[in-house]
């Protein structure tokens, strides 16, 4: 009996465990396996194999029974996830349905999730902008949250490292507030976007329009071919999974790479319940997993654990990792675990028309759009709110179809459309300020079907966000007017936090164990073999789409864990 136990312990022991196989977990797994560590990847969802498990990827529009619309019954059963623009007939199988994993909304929060190998990296919009020191120095300069323990120079080489492997299309724009990276050829702005760029850049000193950098292989390099990925063919059907591997997801890239080393083991259907803290050894020795199919609880052991379950689930796992030493959650002596949560404010849009360029259009499809880097409060505080917003910007030539009447005239109108004018549109991506009162917690009584407490979300906008929405609408309206756009409309959707799908914080990095949970290497101050490198680690949110930064932080943390940590402890 004793022997059996020892054997099973040995069998379940690895050098490293990675919790979650999404955007950041995929990177942890790849890096750990590349460095020769026997790595166990625990994923709560099913396996999604690149190409094999993309059932809709080659379907023609007419093959979708409801032409991409989600049937009413599904909408009614899923009021939350149905709000996501990408939850459509072709990709809804990659999203978690509302009933599959309930949570408690103390305040409205739309939690959009993907539980499967690849996580949300399958459905993401592939926007990848670097941070700069204007972002990392934000909390220290403006006096909120805590100072980031790192600066741009610490992460810059890791941005490069990740970008080369992922493949990022973009232009070297030379902007101090949005540093250039390792780019494949970018996607040009179209005529009207280019015109707007000229107008804005000649009118305002610090405002720019660029082509947004995106994770697409516009010109694959040997490292991409080695991953089995190829040229992006501009289908823009990425949310279905791409048969060419033209965009980056964990399924086509990091996960198969990790498995190919022979050092990684992928275990789907494995819901991590908690981390095991050994009071005697004073460290984490492994994790408890509930097999989602058999409901059996199994323990796995390792000397390093990377928690990459996605920001909210990472918080949940750590809060649920209680022990004699840590009754309130792992490493949570200061009581800050789950607090200082934040997100991105995506509430407002401004749109309009443009009568210029009547003889031009663009041809084909493009997997990205225009981007306006943050221009508010960059160099100094200049408004009555803190921080600022970036914005998406795109223009498109409309086709006018006359839908009047019925019969032959209608048919003829439908089949003979005419060029319409250009439409222009923009959406805001605002920085929100992490506050102690915005938190993710666990419900004291209710549990999910795996015996894990329900996540409780208490996150809201504040006055700073309201002022920022108003300023965005005002500034974009001004810029559109200046450019001669007409019929300018603005809209504040008032959407709940969460729908931005950029949830961050709760396990923040910082210099001081009294005021933060993680050190500058994303390592828990009080559990030194545990690393958190997904959105949970973020001290502040900046305005840029965050996944590139998660990936860079992950690669950096693994490098430290494998190279530097052994030196430090000897």
């Amino acid at each position: 009996m004793a022997n059996f136990n020892i054997d099973s312990t040995k069998e379940n022991t690895y050098d490293a465990i990675v919790i979650g196989s999404g955007m950041s977990g995929g990177w942890a797994a790849k890096e750990l396996a590349d460095k020769g560590l026997k790595t166990l990847i625990l994923e709560r969802g099913r396996d999604v194999k690149h190409n094999v498990d993309y059932p809709t990827t080659n379907m023609m529009p007419w093959e979708f029974k409801h032409r991409m619309q989600v049937p009413q019954e599904i909408v009614e059963e899923n009021p939350i996830v149905s709000k996501c623009y990408n939850f459509r007939e072709d990709s809804m199988h990659f999203f978690v349905k509302d009933k599959e994993h309930p949570y408690v909304q103390e305040k409205p929060f739309d939690w959009i999730r993907g539980y499967q190998v690849g996580g949300k990296s399958i459905m993401w919009a592939r926007q990848t902008q670097r941070w700069s020191d204007f972002d990392f120095e934000g909390p220290a300069r403006d006096g909120f949250a805590v100072d980031w323990p790192i600066r741009y120079k610490d992460i810059a080489p890791w941005y490069s490292y990740v970008e080369k492997f992922v493949g990022i299309a973009g232009f070297k724009d030379g902007l101090p507030n949005l540093p250039d990276g390792e780019f494949l050829p970018g996607y040009d702005l179209n005529c009207v976007e280019g015109y707007f760029k000229e107008k804005v850049e000649s009118t305002y000193k610090d405002r720019n329009i660029i082509s947004a950098r995106c994770a697409h292989l516009s010109e694959p390099q040997p490292i991409h071919l080695e991953q089995g990925r190829g040229q992006c063919m501009n289908r823009t059907l990425c949310q279905r999974g791409c048969p060419f591997g033209g965009y980056f997801n964990s399924n086509s890239s990091t996960i198969p790479w990790a498995l190919k080393t022979g050092n990684a083991t992928l275990r789907p259907f494995s819901v991590v319940h908690s981390l095991i803290y050994d009071d005697v050894k004073e460290k984490v020795t492994g994790v408890r997993v509930v097999d989602s199919e058999s409901k059996e609880m199994i323990e796995y052991y390792a000397s390093i654990v990377f928690v990459n379950a996605g920001a909210l689930n990472t918080n949940l796992i750590l809060l649920n990792s209680t022990s004699n030493r840590f009754p309130n959650g792992l490493g949570n002596d200061n009581g800050l675990l789950g607090k200082y949560a934040a997100f991105h404010n995506y509430r407002a849009r401004v749109s309009g028309r443009y009568d210029g360029f009547p003889d031009t259009t663009s041809l084909g499809r493009r997997p990205t759009s225009g981007y306006i880097p943050r221009f508010r409060n960059v160099y100094k505080q200049e408004t009555n709110f803190l921080r600022g917003y970036a914005a998406g910007f795109s223009a498109g030539r409309q086709v006018d179809r006359n839908y009047d009447g019925v019969g032959e005239s209608l048919k003829s109108n439908l089949l003979n459309p005419e060029w319409g004018g250009w439409r222009v549109g923009s959406h805001m991506m605002g920085e929100t300020i992490p506050k102690e009162s915005n938190y993710w917690g666990i419900d004291p009584t209710q549990k999910d079907e795996w015996g894990i407490p329900l996540l409780k979300v208490n996150v809201d906008y504040d006055d700073n966000d309201e002022k920022m929405v108003a300023d965005y609408i005002e500034q974009l309206t001004e810029m559109f007017t200046m450019a001669g756009f007409t019929d300018i409309q603005s809209n504040d959707s008032k959407q709940a936090p969460g729908l931005d799908i950029h949830e961050m914080g709760g396990v923040r990095m910082g210099k001081d164990p009294k005021t933060s949970l993680l050190d500058k290497w994303n390592r828990m101050h009080l559990a030194k073999n545990v690393f958190v490198t997904d959105g949970a680690c973020m001290t502040s949110t900046s305005t840029q789409n965050p996944s590139l930064t998660y990936m860079a932080l992950t690669a950096r943390a693994v490098d430290f864990a494998v190279k530097e940590m052994p030196k430090e402890t000897t």
Binding site: N58, M60, P61, W62, K65, H66, R67, Q69, P71, Q72, E73, E76, Y187, D188, L189, N190, C191, G194, M233, N234, R235, L237, P358, D359, T360, T361, S362, L363, G364, R365, R366, R397, V399, Y403, G405, V406, G407, E408, L410, K411, L414, L415, N416, P417, E418, W419
Partner: protein
Amino acid sequence: MDRRTALKQAALFAGGVALLPSCSFEPERVAMALNNLQIDADQQDLLAKIVQTIIPSGEIPGADELEVYKFVLVMADDCMDKSEQGVFTSGLQKFGPFVKENFDKAFAKGDQAYKEKVLTDIMAMEDADDASKPGLKDVKSFLDATKGYTIRGYMSSQYILTEKFPYKHVPGPFQACVSTDGLIVM
């Protein structure tokens, strides 16, 4: 094989002949199997005629050849909420009597021009006239929804997206700014 045929056969195999109502031995004329809507074969035929009137046949196939009424039914059945479905079925039920009441003759008895006139006239009526023309609101809502789905189903049909406005899965390189000269608008 549609669902009812399948059920019937299953019943026969189970020796359940006695369970089948005798009328089921009449020539096969059943409506499409739907989940929510109660639509009989006659109503389905009427709907198909309305849909054909909205986009008639011609040199280029119309809604008839492309069986667009099936798409209209699928969308009404799966993508409308309960109250919209109520109005849709009620409008479809009331359509026949409404036409007889307010126009010269039954919808099906007229030619394409007559049918087009009926649809156009109804869609142009004011909701406020519902009092003097009972059923108008439902009939109008039903026609509006049917027209919307007809256009969508037709324009996204395989025929249109291969023959008329070819949909390219792989559209080729993106060209950011080109002249519209000589380009087919699509």
